[in-house]
Symmetry: C2
């Protein structure tokens, strides 16, 4: 599939079948994540894979949506700011590095027929407690991972001339 087609095929899947993700598909999405670039190749990321079985009520405290707790797997993409590259003006690139890696995982999942949904509106405190995250590990984004049980809706995007400008053209 062409990349642009893949980008347009991805959608925020807010409904999952109970079927488990096969190991070979999990392997593909993790490898796509692993080969993501990062600032100065520091790879300051930790991806945590959560099997939701038997934990659904606990997971509601993190993000209270049926489609979230009912996906067979959740992925929590974390950053390690103390291992990240930092620009001379103090800007830390953890969030960028985690986002690239998660984007790779999500696009790879789309290609193999799996659904995902970027989730940032989780309760970070409850998530930290659930995963036992030390202070230096920052949860940046989550996604369910499983087979979609809903149809895509059309994407609404700003026109390109609002998003792009040509400088000194």
């Amino acid at each position: 599939m062409q990349f642009l087609e893949l980008v347009k095929k991805r959608y925020s899947v807010r409904g999952y079948k109970p079927d488990m993700v096969e190991d070979n598909k999990l392997k593909i999405v993790l490898e796509a994540m692993q080969f993501a670039p990062s600032a100065s190749n520091r790879q300051p990321v930790q991806f945590i894979i959560i099997n939701t079985q038997g934990k659904k009520q606990e997971l509601r405290k993190i993000y209270d949506r049926d489609w979230f707790i009912n996906a067979p797997l959740l992925i929590c993409a974390c950053g390690l700011p103390h291992e990240s590259w930092v620009r001379s003006d103090g800007t830390n690139y953890t969030f960028v590095d985690v986002a690239i890696a998660m984007d790779h995982l999500i696009l790879a999942a789309t290609e193999v027929g799996l659904g995902t949904c970027w989730v940032a509106a989780f309760n970070a405190q409850e998530l930290r407690k659930f995963l036992g995250l030390p202070e230096e590990v920052i949860p940046v984004a989550m996604t369910p991972l499983g087979y979609p049980d809903i149809e895509p809706t059309p994407k609404e995007r700003k026109p390109l001339d609002e998003l792009v400008r040509y400088d000194h053209w």
Copy 2:
């Protein structure tokens, strides 16, 4: 090309031919950027396209590398934190949204044979001056865009068991 193959094909291109990027290719990479997801679909990004012709000496102040100033185009990916989604704990998702959009642009460029290189080590102050950026526009990442004039080098990545953990498995 399969997505995993595309991910592995991308490399940090530090050498460009002088040939200009064709309009149809620029259109594809910008469309891939446009269809990137963002927190709450706010799309708080501004992508600035710089034609380097006649500006090479000025561009050296931003990032002093021959391969950077000699690429025909540079893309500056900026974020608009005041338009971004913010979690209830105050975490602003601008950097995540810009990174996803830039990742889409870079992968689309790879597919159509163009070279890119994530650059974060630019002089932000000089860049702001050059582009006349208002205070609320944050330059997050840059990339040259053009035809590669160097061969790829192998990617070194941490093993998966350093990047991934299985929780409550």
